[in-house]
Symmetry: D2
Subunit: 339 residues, 4 copies
């Protein structure tokens, strides 16, 4: 039984992390703090009534350090890099759901997030929390950078191909569609019901801040520099991401070869399901779960691969993956509390 | 050809009034002003691109008076009562889509809207713009108070019964459900997509500001004081209201008697459709139209009537009815620009 | 560890019961059969991939009897009363999610379901599976009739008042709104996406088959015959019911008296949450849970009570309540597998 | 005033064509027939109550020929090629909303629609009804094949580039997303509300029957054979298509050059709106209109163009474009009845 804390609970990721931890048999939630939100958790989130008596206090480092040994940071980016160094110094373990430690380069961070990075010291030590690729590193990590939702779906879809057949990759286009909770819980005109409902649009075209994260880890997997084209769209649903990924290849590849490659690659992975050829993944089949479902197709001339990838952006794309990372860091069963 | 102006175009009612006027053959839109919004209309509302070259200026009384003869006020309540007296003084005609002139009593207004009424002088002269009941008054009116969306659906449903059989009415319960645009275009947490989608709730239970408007005009129709119970709910759709109205009666009434009463009452009304017994109105059948569809049912013991009423809250509940009122005031065909 | 079986898995209730049982630590799912559906469960329901290797066989009584000791019947009405007598004869325990054993009167059943009841012998022995009222009977029951979704929300909302202050009840009107899964998984024109989305309507007005079930148990609770007015509507959401219930009372009652009555009545109930005065329940707060949330309000003249009740129709309204009943019948913790 | 007929009114395209014609000042609807649907139009489509007294008769060639001079065929494919030759023989004009005359090759039709083409004689004479490209041919045509919804959005987006810079095109990927009405009004499990709502998926990946139509007209515009990759997805909305189109180019192109090309190309087109650089089209801005809105972006390295195109699949993608074609064939103003 380990003692865990959450910092930041007013957003969807923090709230869902909280719910997962309340149901997790091997941990005790001993600290909940936030910068701007305070009070009983069942008043902040009325649906939690009867599930917890905990309160969220104004974040207090000293109390936090006394109360728990592992922390989830569900705070906005920039808030995380202010807290993280202090927790690390006190030998605490951290799973950071913000973007602050995902990119390895201060320059890249500052360009895409348009703010100065103030903790470059820990940037290099952070482990990218995609368990299917960095499992052993995560087990030993003190600081895990929980991946972004779009990169999770993209990397899980592309990894088997990129990491084994990097030579044949010619170009990669990722057409991504996300439900509204992916934008967090911001109160803005363009996320009002009447703006989103019965509507669909592309946004931040060729300019989304998850682009460098995708390219960084794709390149790591490939062992060479890769740049994907990345376009995002807003779906009129609460939760879920689907990415349709077009990979042009220099060498013909058949559907069955591709399928066998993927099946083998993910054979022992609990949370990645490769669908049979001819089947396409649907967002509803992964909603509220930690699964990533993958669909495969190849053009008749065998020069173009179409990958489709779905996740729940709040689960495998945020809170679920965070708990999966905690399970690894604490040597629990990897799927504990997630099935 | 008359010259009309709109004051207030950043909300849904103002925008839709604008669209209806642009398509109306007998009027020319010669003035568009607003207090806080300025610029090209096709930039304020991108879907209007190619439909108009007009701009919205910072409201300027002098310019407005020179430019047009009839004005639609699509401003928030309290803003209307500041402008209206000046327009009236200049002999202009006004259709006020706000709540400022709907209630006849300063006291009632101040209690329900929690703000002082500063133009009680014109309160008594305003004509309530429900054409099916006040057609002749509207034709001669200078100031028309365009009805609220909920009252429109309620009054059209109840009028035939209330105005002809007031003696048998025992109690009235109005269970109302509205799409999100009924709340206007406010940017608030509780109208965000993720709060409304896949959700449903009651709000302002027994305390909605349309209650006194409903009771005032029900009482006028009945010739005696009537008080309805009124509860509102928020539907996860953009547009449309459905009200389910329960009327307990002191004297048994059969479905066929009720049906004949309603058919006869609305025989010559273009915009009220009484459905055959056994049919129930659906919001989708009136969306984007100026119709009010009514369904009728009576309990087996004949002591309870169930009326169902649907309108598009932005059309018959706001902009459509406003144009219908203008048609009457200007002696155009009543359905001009509305079919 | 007990061995349980499910008969019927192609509908939403059967599927969800299956999911709940797969996660329940104290039971082993040892039989899955159906009349018309066969095959691997993860092919019938693709989202179950990786969660179960079970197959659904063509229902075979002999095999079923050998395999399990307690059965969930998630079959259409009329199918249940064909299977139930045979299972009872073999000393099996049954939780019937169909309507076949909810009404105590053969006549009422035949009038509302328009089909002959062929097992009136067991009709009288069946226990109505609303744990909050019939907990002790359920613990000893062999056959539990799992309540309908609408009656569950209505009875939980009305019980405290009806069972303690039956003398002051004058009339009851239940205005009910349900998500689409309440209609099951039928493939019909009126449940198509384009018919339901951006739409809302009343259906089966004053004529819904859950009416006699509501009236039967309301009358039992009251100790006298009560008849509620019941009107149902179709919400454009997947899951959830909200009922707005209007109770006219003969004797004035204050909000605080009412609130105390409800709080006390449900003080020890895990799955009923009485909200503070001024709060209204929302469907999203109970979605995917077994909770029923209740809101209370009283008119200014204290003669009318407005109760609002929300449940997830597939959980507390079907599969969740069925598992709660199993927990009672098997002497497990009542909330096992439900939190 | 010309006399027009509609054959087929039970689908969305037929219904919407009907509505547009009822509001069109220059035509009189003198014949409505269908193979399987008969009766009053306001009973087939209740929302039409009060708008028309017409009835739909069992299709009768003789009566049809006597009644009207121009016909809209809103029948399923294969039904059209049975009726069309007879109407042509009687010198009638035809706008066919089905797929029967869109492809010029009998072989292509038979491969993609998996049914024999029985009227190859007229296949070659049919004019493809995309007014922005074939306006002069349409004016003189007897038989117009109204384009498919997906091809309309794709061709309008690609035409300026393809027809003027064919030399630089390297590859084209069309990622298309459509609302549910695009699938027509079929009653099937996968179009039920609970299957589509809160869901999103790809379907017919690399295998949609609109593929050859897109490739045929792209190639005509390019003056050389072009093959686009085409993947379709199902959006949980009623109406609207958005296509995100990725064009890899062999020669660098800047955003401003591209923008000027598009602006110039569509300068005089009423129904195509090229948005300013930095703006992205939204489905809601074209819903219920005949507009196609286009957005443009170019990657930093200037080798990849991202086009975004939105239409209402029932308007510019079907009925609206059909009426636009009629206006051309009858020498009415091209936007008559469409604004």
């Amino acid at each position: 039984m380990i003692k865990v804390g959450i910092i930041g609970v007013s957003g969807y990721s923090g709230m869902l992390t909280l719910e997962l931890l309340l149901k997790h048999d091997d941990v005790r939630l001993t600290y909940v703090g936030a910068n701007s939100t305070q009070g009983r958790l069942d008043q902040i989130w009325p649906h939690l009534k009867g599930k917890t008596n905990l309160t969220c206090e104004k974040f207090n480092l000293k109390k936090a350090l006394e109360a728990a040994d592992l922390f989830f940071l569900a705070v906005p980016h920039t808030a995380s890099m202010k807290i993280t160094p202090k927790l690390l110094q006190a030998q605490k373990k951290i799973i950071d759901l913000s973007a602050d430690y995902r990119l390895k380069s201060k320059q890249a961070y500052e360009r895409w997030y348009e703010v100065k990075h103030t903790d470059t010291k820990n940037l290099s030590q952070a482990v990218y929390g995609l368990p299917e690729f960095y499992r052993e590193d995560i087990k030993k990590a003190s600081l895990v950078a929980n991946p972004g939702c779009y990169p999770t779906a993209a990397l899980l879809a592309l990894a088997p191909l990129i990491s084994t057949r990097t030579d044949i990759i010619q170009s990669i286009i990722i057409d991504a569609k996300s439900g509204v909770s992916g934008a967090g819980r911001k109160v803005t005109q363009n996320l009002m019901f009447t703006e989103v409902n019965e509507n669909f649009k592309a946004y931040k075209v060729l300019n989304h801040q998850h682009t460098p994260e995708i390219n960084l880890y794709l390149s790591k997997m490939a062992g060479r520099s890769l740049k994907a084209t990345f376009v995002t769209h807003l779906l009129p649903i609460n939760r879920g991401i689907l990415e349709t990924i077009y990979v042009q290849v220099k060498e013909k590849i058949s559907e069955s070869v591709l399928f066998n490659l993927y099946r083998k690659f993910y054979k022992t992975e609990k949370f990645v399901r490769v669908l049979p050829l001819g089947s396409q993944p649907e967002i509803k089949d992964v909603t509220t779960t930690n699964y990533c479902d993958l669909g495969l197709a190849v053009s008749k001339d065998k020069n173009l691969i179409v990958l489709t990838s779905v996740i729940d952006n709040l689960m495998k794309g945020a809170a679920g993956q965070a708990v999966q990372n905690m399970n690894l860091m604490c040597h629990f069963a990897e799927d504990k509390g997630l099935v």
